[in-house]
């Protein structure tokens, strides 16, 4: 129910499997497209800019009550006594559930040997752990009442530092200790001979800070019962995952749980899994017979809605004089919080560059903090931070240009997937076209600046290691008047999925975008789609939608051929009409009697399996120019170019937007974002955006170029697109770190690169 999401575990796992059944073969690749790839404005833009889009947070149902949750203020404590009687007597309060209530015993958080906790647990293992919940008529009444719940705690020893957590004398988060299983080792070749063959070796240790997702819409659910059936509106990336979790938690058939999410205000991985607040809302709605809304506060999301775990990564790397890599020996350690989650990913070290001798050892530590969750390319930005700085150090030692050094090691085979070839790899083109577009060679020759403001440039490469879950179905309906409907269970989390679904249908059926209705993210009315995460949304759902549209097209054309007395081969669809070869006059769909007679044509499309024996993954290379004030330590990213091989550009507008967003998030990871827990109290210090600093409009580079590198991949899937959201963020922080090093001559090993870190490092070089 709350384990790491499938793409996270799959992306991190060493071996990969591809579906082998070919019952629905892929459609041939498009040779030319009219609508797909164009800069089509979002089909739901009107709702989003007018304020009429109803997000879960906006939903108000008749008689709806509001939920407030009582959380442990301590990092580790046991509830000795909980008394909600005064809260229950307060104005407007309808019901309370505490860790003493029988409904609170639903198992929650799972380890190797089963459940580690429960919905409301008297043993609190981090600040923010849930101990009670109540509902009242207004949010203020609920908040007042939550403060009136009396909880007596026995305060226990805690540890909030993941490195300290592994010491033998550290307080234990769970009785079995703080190390999550044995370290996971992945290796190939022979390290000793790899290092023996190296002309230079570099060994460095890096730290990355814990990053918080903080989507603009806080986590929120509304639950309503109709007898034995539950309807939940949820701000989620995957309605089907939430339905599965709810059905399991509440012991209901899947058909008795309906989860809908028309608009959701951002997730970045933190809204992939079922939250306790959703189950609490459902339980309290059943108790009171009223709809219940549970919306987390901003601070609550920072305590308990997931995070990108902090990592400690040491890499020893070897290379020959000609720049070829000979060995990587990497150790990755991450702190997952109080319950198991994925802590690190060694994928990049194992796969981004050709290297015969690699050993990666990964360890996860438990500590008294909120559980980690998938966060935009889980583990990858951390690994890129370390790997890409080490590559730069090797290049410097060898006197090689950092771009040239990378180009010497571009792989054509997936080393992580049994040496299978890629359907396409644009990594070399990302590096070449990117450096040309950025003016890399000229910038390398420019002076770094005189006086206290220095300029520097940096490059970093990246990829994303998950190819998507091909379990997706879509339905396309063509109506009698020639308008159409496309139905998919995917969530549009802001990436433009709704618009791209319409574009794919428009492409195949020749129906104008304005005449296409898109239905999404409702388990009762839309078709199964995996959660929108892991950069899989477009590449699994669009082939399904295309296949459904083609099924409609085939039926339509054969009906038309019969009605018009023509050969199917001579008919085609364009601008809502049937065009006949050799005939200037076209027949509008609305005039087709056979269509009117049936009222609608329905096509069902399934996503084809992944290509056999090949691997389809996206790549990127990013180039940054920074300005560093050596007196204040302030870093400004002044120019940026992101070259992306994500296959086909499905929509020029939303594509660029994804890249802007990925880079912005990388700027935060590299320069500003750091969750801080106080070692003395175990409490969150950065529980607000004033303290936890995400990039603002002032942090975005003044000059920005998004450079798509489309290798015209005809094999990856039937639409030719690979994932975009994750690879757009993977190399960003590392490119900035390399640029800072270039500007000031000193390397900063820890993310984020704060002003203080720069000033301190420069002072050290002077003394």
């Amino acid at each position: 129910m709350t384990g790491p999401c499938s793409f996270m575990t799959q992306a991190i796992a060493t071996a990969a499997t591809t579906a082998t059944t070919r019952e629905n073969p892929a459609l041939p690749a498009w040779e030319k497209t009219n609508v797909v790839g164009a800069a089509v404005p979002r089909v739901d833009a009107h709702e989003r800019v007018s304020g009429t889009a109803v997000y879960t947070r906006d939903l108000a149902l008749p008689g709806m009550l509001h939920c407030a949750i009582v959380r442990s203020p301590h990092a580790h404590a046991r509830v000795k006594r909980i008394d909600a009687s005064r809260a229950l007597a307060m104005p407007g309060v309808h019901a309370v559930i505490t860790c003493d209530s029988p409904e609170a015993s639903i198992p929650w958080y799972f380890g190797a040997k089963g459940a580690l906790s429960r919905l409301l647990d008297p043993e609190c293992r981090y600040e923010g752990d849930e101990v009670a919940a109540l509902v009242a008529e207004t949010p203020l009444q609920a908040a007042d009442a939550a403060r009136a719940v009396v909880v007596e705690y026995e305060i226990l020893p805690f540890v909030v530092d993941y490195e300290r957590a592994l010491r033998p004398d550290a307080p234990k988060v769970h009785p079995f200790g703080n190390q999550l299983g044995e370290p996971r080792v992945t290796e190939r070749g022979d390290l000793a001979s790899g290092f023996a063959a190296a002309d230079v070796t570099v060994e460095r240790e890096f730290h990355t800070s814990c990053e918080l997702h903080t989507p603009m819409e806080t986590h929120c659910s509304v639950a309503q019962w109709d007898g034995g059936s539950l309807q939940v509106w949820d701000s989620t990336q995957g309605v089907y995952a939430i339905r599965r979790g709810l059905a399991q938690a509440l012991q209901l058939p899947l058909a008795s749980v309906r989860v809908s999410s028309r608009f959701m205000g951002g997730g970045f991985g933190s809204k992939l899994e079922l939250g306790k607040y959703t189950v609490l809302a459902a339980i309290l709605a059943r108790t009171t017979g009223r709809p219940v809304k549970a919306a987390l506060s901003r601070e609550e999301t920072m305590l308990c809605a997931g995070n990108r775990p902090a990592n400690t990564i040491s890499i020893k790397a070897g290379a020959r004089k000609d720049g070829k890599l000979t060995a990587f020996d990497a150790k990755l350690l991450g702190g997952v919080g109080a319950f198991p989650a994925a802590a690190t990913s060694g994928y990049l070290v194992l796969d981004l560059y050709t290297c015969a001798n690699v050993r990666v050892e990964e360890t996860a530590a438990l500590m008294n903090a909120g559980q980690a969750r998938a966060f935009r390319a889980p583990g990858f930005p951390q690994a890129a931070w370390a790997l890409e700085q080490v590559i730069d150090e090797l290049a410097e030692r060898l006197g090689l240009d950092p771009v040239a050094m990378r180009l010497k090691n571009v792989p054509t085979l997936s080393q992580m997937r049994a040496g299978q070839p890629y359907t396409s790899t644009g990594l070399a083109d990302c590096l070449k076209n990117g450096s040309a577009g950025f003016g890399w060679a000229a910038a390398r020759k420019r002076a770094r600046g005189r006086g206290h403001v220095r300029r520097g440039i940096g490059v970093a490469a990246g990829m994303w290691g998950y190819g998507g879950d091909p379990t997706a179905t879509a339905i396309v309906k063509l109506y009698a008047d020639g308008s159409a409907n496309v139905n998919s269970g995917a969530a549009d989390i802001g990436t433009g999925t709704r618009t791209i679904l319409a574009q794919v249908v428009a492409e195949e059926l020749g129906v104008p975008i304005a005449k296409i209705q898109v239905e999404m993210a409702d388990t009762a009315t839309t078709q199964f789609a995996p959660s929108s995460g892991g950069s899989q949304t477009v590449l699994v759902n669009m082939p399904a939608a295309r296949s459904a549209a083609v099924a409609v097209k085939n039926e339509l054309l054969s009906l038309a051929a019969a009605e018009l007395g023509k050969d199917v081969k001579d008919l085609s669809l364009r601008d809502g009409a049937i065009e006949i070869a050799g005939d200037a006059k076209s027949v509008p769909l609305a005039q087709l009697k056979s269509l009117a007679q049936r009222q609608q044509l329905v096509g069902v499309g399934k996503r084809e399996p992944h290509p056999e024996g090949k691997v389809a993954l996206p790549f990127a290379a990013h180039f940054a120019e920074v300005e560093v004030n050596t007196r204040t330590g302030a870093v400004k990213v002044v120019k940026y170019l992101a070259a992306q091989d994500s296959g086909r550009v499905m929509n020029a507008l939303t594509y660029e937007n994804q890249v802007l967003g990925g880079v912005t998030m990388g700027i935060g990871f590299g320069l500003t974002e750091r969750r801080m827990l106080d070692r003395n109290t175990g409490k969150l210090v950065t529980g607000a955006w004033h303290d936890y600093k995400i990039p603002t409009a002032l942090d975005f580079p003044a000059e920005f170029t998004c450079l798509p590198v489309d290798p015209r991949d005809a094999e990856c899937n039937s639409v030719g697109a690979k994932g975009l959201g994750e690879p757009a963020t993977v190399p960003a922080a590392a490119a900035i770190a390399n640029a800072v090093r270039d500007a000031i001559g000193v390397r900063i090993f820890d993310a984020p690169i704060t002003a203080n870190a720069i000033v301190t490092a420069l002072a050290r070089t002077r003394s």
């Binding site: 833009a45 989003r48 800019v49 007018s50 203020l140 989507p215 506060s297 901003r298 937007n657």
Partner: protein, 210 residues
């Protein structure tokens, strides 16, 4: 009200917000979107946290009379009482700007404004920028430039852009960056937001629209 509230347990929600508000005259956030405190009327000063008061609010040109608790924010009243849900809660403590509205034509965080303070002032929300289903020019520019992703911060961004352009019809890129810096976008659409603001500024100058 509960005993706890009478003893002062929740008085702080009103008092501290007011106190915070008066200190908001400095800093980029304040300059961009908060402004200084609105002058309180004698009527408002009589208010105690415990008693609901009847106030008149003028929103998008229409007057509403309703009873509010003195501690209720303009954000909560707009959304929960009047149904203007385009104004979004993001942090409810003056950090993100998702709740940005115009008060007498000036951008303001609705989460840092008490409903009581807004009495006697003209409030404009995102719903007030369109005429029926016809979008306003800033809204249209946000569509054309794809200046949004998830869209949740978008109404606040649009109100901030509207306020910025009313105060400065010919902003430089630096003016736009500073003017929009009180509104966070976690999806990171800033680059497209700048283009949208510049597009409107250009169109208004050239076409004399608005």
């Amino acid at each position: 009200m509960s005993d706890q509230c009478k003893k002062g347990g929740c008085d702080h929600s009103g008092v501290s917000r007011r106190g915070f508000l008066t200190t908001m005259g400095v800093g980029a956030v304040a300059a961009a979107a908060a402004g200084s405190a609105l002058p309180a009327t004698a009527e408002q000063q009589k208010a105690s946290a415990a008693e609901p008061m009847t106030i008149g609010l003028s929103v998008n040109g229409r007057k509403h009379r309703l009873a509010v608790e003195p501690r209720e924010t303009l954000l909560a009243v707009l959304r929960e009482r009047l149904g203007f849900v385009g104004t979004k809660p993001g942090c409810e403590r003056g950090e993100c700007g998702a709740c940005t509205v115009l008060v007498d034509g000036v951008t303001r965080y609705a989460c840092l404004t008490l409903a009581l303070e807004a009495e006697g002032h003209e409030i404009t929300t995102i719903e007030g920028l369109a005429r029926g289903e016809e979008l306003g020019d800033v809204q249209k520019a946000f569509v054309e430039e794809d200046a949004l992703q998830c869209g949740y911060c978008t109404p606040g961004q649009i109100m901030a852009a509207e306020g910025l352009l009313r105060a400065n019809p010919s902003p430089t890129l630096d003016d736009v960056r500073l003017g929009m810096s009180g509104n966070l976008c976690r999806c990171g659409a800033y680059g497209h937001i700048f283009k949208a603001v510049e597009r409107v500024a250009r169109a208004r100058r050239e076409g004399g629209a608005k």
